[in-house]
Amino acid sequence: MLKFALAGNPNSGKTTLFNALTGSTAHVGNWPGVTVDKREGTYKKGDQPVDIVDLPGIYSLSPYTPEEVIARNFILNERPDCVINIVDATNLERNLYLTTQLMELDVPMVVALNMTDVLDKRGDRIDVKALEKRIGLPVVEISALKGVNVETLMTRAIDALKTPRVAVSVLKESALGSAISNAEIALKLKEVEAPLFHAVKLVEKDAIEVQTHPAEARAAEAFIRENLINDQFNGDTEAAIADARYKYITEHFSSTLTRARKQSYDELSKSDKADKILTHKWAGIPIFLVIMFAIFHLTFSENFLYLGSIIPSFGEWCAVEGSAAKAIFFAGGLNSPGVILFNALDLLTGSIGEWLSLGLDGLGANVVLSGLIVDGIWGGVASVLSFLPQILVLFLFFSILEDTGYMARVAFMLDRIFRRFGVSGRAFMPMIMGFGCSVPAMINTRTMADERERQATVRVIPFFSCGAKMPILLAVSGGIVQVFGVGNADVITYSMYVLGIVVALISLLVMRNTTQRGEASPFIMELPTYHLPGFKNLMLHLWDKAKHFITKAFTIILISCVAIWFLSNFTWSWKHVGYVTIREEEFARTDLSILASIGQFIQPIFTPLGFGSQLNSNGWVFAVAAVLGLIAKEDVIAAFGTLAACIAPLAFGGSSEDGIQEVALMIGATGIEIPALISFIAFNMLTIPCFAAVAAARGEIGKEKFKWTLLFWIVVSYLASAIVYTVGQFVWPVAIWIALTIVATVGIVMYNKYADKKDAEKRLLGARK
């Protein structure tokens, strides 16, 4: 099959074209060791199917960024049959800069001039015929968004295959032309493929190239020293080449563009006007905060627009207690769209569970088997699936912000703050998304350029307490208030959120000074023009995410559910634990299970955190709940529900939806105290996240570093919870922790000085070589 590669600047409409070409057959494939997606799909509308590869968006073929190296290696080594170079017509000069580099490869090539419709609207025009002639490549005007001329583009591309293309360079006319020609001849003699491309890179003193052809590199350097040292660049060929490319573009290509009006900096476009408000000196950051609040409100609030607070009995007016409408739409006031979808799906999965249960009973299925299917498998999978609507709603909002170009402005506004913690402004969006769900947040880190910075960010994302952790916060703090009659549940919940953020920032600071050493990466970023988001693209994006999530729920999560069910329903002698009937309901005797004995075994580990051996004989439930949280954070409170039924059968006073009652029972049954409970929340919030997030982190960080990430989560959560417990319980350990912090800080500062010195030595050695 023919293979075409799409290459172009970021934000030039590459992915839009990819989707237009491949339609619904697009599939996303992750290549190992690659930080960015390289998508592959099939174009089926022509006479023959064509394999389309969407390369990462790049500005140049320099050896400095991973995306550029990937694109360069793909074109050089995999030898696509044709390169389709997407060029954003509204940003001609900078886009053609990459074109002049791609032209130096001898692969057949077509230029797709995108967004000419936007140009038309402005009244500007590009003389395509003239451009085609001067560039020496077929140029096709397209609109990727509307799918205009996409077929013509493919026909021209297939035509281009018929005649072999000779590599050309716009640099041949520049001062360095002779040096490039000389190097090209030398490489041709060595029978190197794509000699012109490599010759240019040699003259440019490209690090990768100099290593592969050291002799030719020396010859080129000698030639330049003898003949060209006196030009304005003083032998700095990298600068000279970039300069020559842009000069050539302005002289020969830009002149094909005629503007309706002369451009002036004072004249503001619609986009500029919007930007003036959105990034305003005083209003910019407050506007951002309001947008963030609105998004979370629309996704998670059970009191939409505060109707329930404004009109106290709003929910009661609108629907009868116990009806489906009440359950879905009205908690106290009106629910937000996110919560409505969540409830609707919850009701649906709950009904399916009931039908399953009734159906199995009807078939006369064994009670254990029906327990496995209904509670073990369906209950587990459904509890994870139920978060899909809110994740999608949150993702939709963030996709819109990204699509419109606002995200780039947020990074622009907040870079200054984030730099202090060793990350650039780009780290901000993934972190905020973490409050919703860690999985999309971790995937979102791909927009970050520096690999170490990205890994550090992925690691701290779980500390931004996600939606699934919210029940733990609410139930445990509610339990504390109910049993001990102290404090205020809201304040406890809120402080836990703050604790998460503080731990994240401290961790970033420590990591960026030790294992993930480095300054915040340079921040040189294009600010795209604002535009309305494309509906079709948004939906494709969402569908991609939904598919990913559902697949996971029915594979990895399903398997883990079966395992947990087995462990909590069977004894070590492979017999079922049996049932106990309380108030006409049957509960499995989880206290006799394998899980319980494992819980008792690992219980001492949690002693420094306050919920270990100091509790009475029932204390293992906290250990088990914490371990179950590793599967899904919802399991923590769910486990209290089941375990409470076994441990405190006489005291069991029925269930309550939010799990506060269960927690209160557990507190009574185990004799746990307030500091230990808070430490329990902290541990669950900061430790290894749920299965789905762990899998996402593994995908983003890579196998090798992933085991350190697991260790990092364990150490951080253990330390933070131990501090919370010991200080809360005994107060005096505060002195020890302060002393340890001072020692650690001094240690890190000293290590840094040492590492800096070593780096400097290394650089010196490298320079001498």
Partner: protein, 73 residues
């Protein structure tokens, strides 16, 4: 000597040379900051840094630290 980082909002200038080394320098070139290019300081971020410039018909943001590598007339 004047640098891109020292421009005032609304000020126009022409790039004279680009200092610095390695990846940052190359990045500046690749984004079109080459000798002779005209730059216009459009705005500064709410906290004063980074800055936003208009060049070659598009908007680019960079930190003052990076802009300090760019000498302008």
């Amino acid at each position: 000597m004047k640098f891109l980082s020292q421009l005032e909002i609304g000020e126009k200038a022409t790039v004279k040379s680009v200092n610095g080394e390695g990846a940052i320098r190359r990045r500046l070139f690749d984004m079109g900051i080459t000798p002779g290019a005209e730059v216009y300081l459009r705005k500064k971020a709410p906290l004063g840094d980074p800055i936003e410039i208009t060049l070659r018909g598009y908007e680019l943001t960079l930190r003052k630290a990076e802009a300090a590598h760019v000498e302008v007339n």
